[in-house]
């Protein structure tokens, strides 16, 4: 690995961070686990993984991570959130009250399809990609409303499931659970390697 490889921090408080680290390593990036604020100082891009959003939110609050995450993302750090990561990036959730970063102008409905028996996979067309991606939705959230700055890259049943707002991308589904690395590549493409 050369020193110019992009360094991607994956929030590792809970969830499938190992799959994201494997995905970015396959693409030649240097992945690292992020648990406490100073772990953020040495990364060029950020991934917030799938997991249980209430657990991740609680631990992030307890260990003083919310403000540093918000600051780095606001300062333009390329960021990808998947499933729980999308929820955590959002500005509000439709039910309940949980800690959120609020970097993505979107209101998110948790467990929008129902319980695990309603989890599914499907071939999904994505704006800018020639072939569909295999999208795995697990107790997945859906976006209820988006702000004007939010670009919708993919929808399912008329609801956004992959969005981008400047440096922030978020998916309802789990690109890290498949071998298709195109969405991770989109994140790496947005890193300016110095």
């Amino acid at each position: 690995m050369t020193s110019s490889a992009p360094r991607v921090g994956v929030l590792a408080l809970q969830g499938d961070f190992r799959e994201h680290l494997a995905a970015v390593a396959e693409l030649g990036a240097e992945g690292s686990e992020v648990r406490v604020p100073h772990d953020l100082e040495t990364v060029d891009a950020l991934i917030i993984p799938g997991g249980e959003s209430t657990t991740i939110g609680r631990l992030a609050t307890l260990y003083g991570m919310i403000e540093p995450l918000r600051k780095h993302i606001e300062h333009g750090m390329p960021t990808l959130g998947t499933c729980a990561g999308m929820i955590f990036l959002a500005s509000s959730v439709t039910d309940g009250d949980q800690p959120l970063i609020g970097a993505l102008a979107a209101s998110v409905e948790r467990n929008a399809f129902g319980r695990q028996n309603e989890s599914f996979e499907i071939d999904l067309d994505v704006e800018g990609l020639d072939d569909p991606v295999k999208a795995v939705f697990i107790r997945a959230p859906l976006i209820e409303k988006v702000g004007d700055a939010v670009e919708v890259l993919a929808s399912y049943r008329g609801r956004p499931v992959f969005v981008r707002q400047a440096n922030v991308m978020a998916t309802s589904f789990h690109p890290e659970l498949t071998q298709d690395r195109r969405i991770h590549q989109m994140l790496l493409d947005s890193v300016e390697v110095g």
Partner: protein
């Protein structure tokens, strides 16, 4: 099988059809377990306990009639929980809810699937319903977690369709020794198999009683094809961190939380120790002033015939 719109073993979109919604695939089932990694799953017997668990940062709860320590004390036949209790707990929290069926009791599992629980634990904590057969888990849309003491047992369960494995440990004891034994055995088995050349694998499959295809997979990847949690005797933050450092993907805490002096505080501490399992300073901080742990049982005090880990094969 109508809800499994594809065979759970089938490769991706083999039909080439676009926009087919596939429920209950292997990837969808194992995927939920992937999301639980690095987390703590807590046994609860009431909606109120479930709420305490969720607020403490549990990634899921296991809905039960009685925790293992009480099942042990109570004796008699232990069965699936009252469906009404499971539903109350499902209503109370937004995190995934698991529930236990007896080993081999596929009708209890059908009932739990119809209730919509997120995971079914085919569990040795309850009285086995079939001494010869475990449930055919491929026949369900709802994913299953099963206990194992070694690699052979884990691969037999995965061969039957389990989408997640946990150590058996010895439930309801508050004694981590058996979970450690099972995890160390699993790691040793995997490490041995992953150094084997192809010509040795069939003999290993015979000795372990494991399906050869799954064993080949282990030899290739050096790891189980599904998530492996620790369970059975975890009572303290240090126990949870120990199991994580031994290579588990997360922990189940059964009696350890709600049989202790201050469940909410202990639950939070175990969650933090699981995430920061390599940081002894954090484990020291969260282990302080936790109140009384559950009373533990020495494994030698339990006659072999009453050890839950001996149930199933």
């Amino acid at each position: 099988m109508e809800s499994n719109s594809t065979d759970a073993m089938s490769p991706d979109a083999a039909s080439g059809e676009r926009n087919v919604v596939e429920h209950g695939t292997k990837r969808v089932k194992t995927g939920l377990a992937e999301m639980l990694k690095g987390g703590v799953i807590m046994d609860v017997v009431t909606a109120e306990q479930a709420t305490i668990a969720q607020e403490a940062g549990a990634v899921a709860v296991m809905a039960l009639e009685r925790v293992p320590a009480d099942i042990r004390k109570h004796g008699g036949v232990a069965r699936m929980a009252d469906p009404n209790k499971v539903e109350e707990i499902m209503e109370a929290v937004s995190i995934p809810v698991m529930a236990k069926s007896r080993i081999g009791h596929f009708v209890e599992a059908q009932v739990l699937q119809s209730l919509g629980v997120d995971y079914i634990d085919e569990s040795e904590v309850l009285s086995p319903a079939d001494m010869q057969h475990h449930i055919d888990k491929w026949a369900f849309t709802t994913p299953f977690v099963c206990g194992a003491r070694n690699l052979g047992e884990a691969l037999r369960r995965i061969g039957e369709g389990a989408a997640m494995i946990r150590t058996k440990g010895e439930p309801g004891t508050g004694n981590v020794v058996e979970a450690v034994t099972h995890m160390r055995q699993m790691t040793a088995d995997i490490s041995r198999v992953s150094t084997m050349t192809d010509d040795l694998l069939m003999a290993a499959a015979r000795d372990l009683g494991a399906p050869i295809d799954l064993l080949r997979d282990i030899a290739d990847t050096g790891r189980l094809p599904v998530v492996n949690f620790a369970a059975g005797g975890i009572a303290t933050p240090a126990d949870a961190a120990l199991m994580m450092q031994l290579g588990c993907d997360g922990v189940f805490v059964g009696s350890g939380i709600f049989k202790s002096g201050d469940p909410a505080v202990r639950a939070r501490a175990i969650v933090e120790a699981t995430t920061f399992h390599r940081d002894p300073q954090i484990i020291a901080k969260v282990s302080s002033n936790l109140g009384e742990p559950m009373v533990g049982i020495d494994i030698d005090e339990i006659p072999e015939s009453q050890r839950m880990q001996e149930r199933g094969w």
